[in-house]
Symmetry: C2
Subunit: 410 residues, 2 copies
């Protein structure tokens, strides 16, 4: 008789976005005529840019011919894409990443949850709080936590690093020993970035303690300020301590098209359970080769198109569109008397919820103003009292949503 993994049952509640979708759908079912505006989930709404569409069509045509057909591809990504990533995202920013340090795959959600398979089960995980729920949930499922604590609103055994108004949403270094630290900057959900010297504090900490930083850099393209790093490898010594994750979801509107990459430097080595020094690059290569079969050829060709001058100009125009939404939300809500953070280097606004109860504010916004946001507490205990709004919507809907909130809620 097989025995099942007992850790799954520790998971508390629905995935945040599942719960948001449920409440929203219930409301729409009860009010079919309501004009509901969704700025909760961080999902793009605008079409793929023409350069990507053309590249996708061309790749589909390839697949319909003998000469152009592609069967099993390289598990770690095609060179036509990897070479361009290495050049444009790293080399031209003064960072040398080797070809076999780069791994193309089908999403940062997959990558950030799979990476922990390289760690021993007793690895102590630290996350900023609030945080993208997947980092926590997937470690809970792998047995790296105790039970959920209803008072703390978090899992025992996971180290939460509060990001609050008091510390300007910059986490303090852990007081206890931690082994792996998830950092997402520019940050989801607060919409704030770390400056170069602020990120250096973390790299130095990891170098000193032997911890590993899992750096989710999915929002790099939104950076506008000069002193915000575009890669963690801009920081001296980061290659010895950090894995970087990037995604095409936001830069190229690929949330439903699915493509991402990770960088695992060869300098990154640690002791394994047998006491041997091993390379995380070698382990990740084994993992991705054995458990993954590569991203679709067609999709990789689509992603390649954003590295042309034409493609880059088109996607940056889209990014500009969304960031103008962020500006409208940020300034509009501020003018209306709300306390608002973020939205300068990231497509998210972190709004202080009047009344201090995230889900109560969610329900009020949905029921009275037909606007769907994301309750801050869904991202972690320190998110209580806050609310995330996303810039990923049409201009019209963004203006309408802000107008409704300004008029209705103080």
């Amino acid at each position: 008789m097989i025995t099942l993994n007992g850790d799954y049952k520790k998971l508390r509640g629905n995935f945040l976005f599942t719960e948001i979708a449920k409440r929203t759908n219930d409301f729409i079912a009860a009010h079919p005529d309501a004009d509901v505006i969704k700025i909760g989930i961080g999902d793009v709404v605008r079409p793929l840019v023409p350069a990507v569409i053309n590249a996708l069509h061309k790749a589909v045509d390839d697949m319909g011919t003998y000469e152009g057909f592609h069967g099993y591809g390289p598990e770690l990504g095609y060179s036509f894409l990897k070479d361009k990533i290495l050049l444009k995202d790293y080399k031209e920013r003064g960072i040398d990443i080797a070809y076999d340090e780069l791994f193309v795959s089908c999403g940062t959600k997959c990558d950030t949850s799979a990476i922990q398979e390289l760690f021993s089960k007793d690895t102590v995980i630290a996350v900023t709080d609030p945080v993208y729920p997947v980092y926590v949930a997937t470690n809970v499922m792998a047995g790296r936590s105790g039970a959920f604590d209803d008072v703390l609103q978090g899992y025992n055994g996971i180290v939460y690093l509060p990001c609050t108004e008091d510390n300007n949403f910059i986490p303090e270094l852990p007081k206890q020993k931690v082994d792996a630290i998830y950092l997402c900057y520019p940050n989801n959900p607060t919409g704030l970035a770390l400056k170069r010297d602020e990120l250096k504090v973390w790299v130095d900490y990891a170098r000193k303690t032997g911890a590993i930083i899992l750096y989710d850099n999915a929002y790099e393209v939104f950076i506008t300020e000069d002193d915000v790093p575009h890669s963690i490898y801009e920081i001296d010594g980061a290659k010895e301590v950090a894995i970087e994750f990037r995604s095409f979801s936001k830069i190229a509107g690929f949330t439903g098209t699915r493509l991402s990459y990770s960088v695992v430097p060869k300098e990154l080595k640690r002791i394994d359970e047998n006491g041997d020094m091993v390379s995380l690059n070698a382990m990740w290569t084994q993992r991705q080769t054995m458990k993954y079969n590569g991203a679709p050829y067609i999709i990789q060709r689509g992603a390649e198109a954003i590295y042309t001058d034409e493609g880059r100009a088109q996607v940056m125009s889209e990014i500009g569109y969304y960031m103008e939404n962020a500006r409208i939300m940020r300034e509009g809500l501020r003018e209306a008397g709300f306390t608002v953070y973020g939205g300068v280097d990231a497509p998210y606004i972190w709004l202080k919820a009047p009344g201090g109860d995230s889900w109560a504010f969610f329900d009020r916004l949905l029921n009275e103003y037909h606007v769907v946001g994301a309750p801050g507490v869904g991202f972690g205990p320190s998110g209580e009292g806050f609310f995330r709004l996303s810039a990923f919507n049409s201009r019209e809907n963004t203006l309408k949503a802000i107008d409704r909130i300004r008029k209705g809620i103080k």
Copy 2:
């Protein structure tokens, strides 16, 4: 200081297909003019059929418009595809599978290696021998084995079920307790199928012992014989013991396009490490929701096209083409005096290697006849002395390869 997973280091040698590629590339580098024919890896070579190409183009067009754009999709698959799978692959064969028992994802390699996350670490894994190497390797990486045994040519702690000429390549029931059994039928690599009554023996065994069957049904479309089941759920009681995996790789030429699905019935429940009865369907839903973000919209639309009459006729014509290759190989090699198995319900030929050494035969075939096959021993200890040939090639290359082998090797 973080500690790394010590189990990865138990992995012995290269992934079979990596080693084949390495030896082949070395040979080609040394003999650039040689006309090398690759019938080693089970990878399709013919283009996607017109119905799929048209559907992919249409989906790409969707993604270029506001109205047709798709962002994050349902993690478990779009209903336009799931409904057709449920109807055509199950309902029309008399099998009822519920909507939420079906999970669309990006490959059977991913699915069969991820499913073990639902099991406790001490789960005893059984595999047929020879076997697709990924089942074994991914369990080794998760700590479900001891060290590799050079004499046995297998991992301690993994239960190998020999499939040999003596038992007509039908594995005998395990003599020791096992918890999870990987069965792939029609089989890779032997190219043989289990009849309905032969599969029933396994379902009955699992019902009696509480083991779970992981049924890799990637080659279903090649079945030609009436008494070979098209789904394990044709067998009474299988829903209580079996998870089924299927792939679009072979039926629709999707090896580089990437799409698959799994079925986890709600009847499938077992005790977890806390002693509680839990549903594997609920756990797999949690796993796929938390660690995966759905397959690309474009690719799911492409797969949908094979469920139209036109698409079905086109893909079945491709299957017929490949199976004629299988017939040519089977009969040609048999006439030439080789002992040959498989190739009737599956696209693989399992050839007895003259001399009895799989890798020696590989090298001889490559060096003397410029034909690349897959050494049987790469699939497990009982594969020694055998050799896998794949029907996935052009007619011309298939004829040429068989002609060279017939003329040269006795």
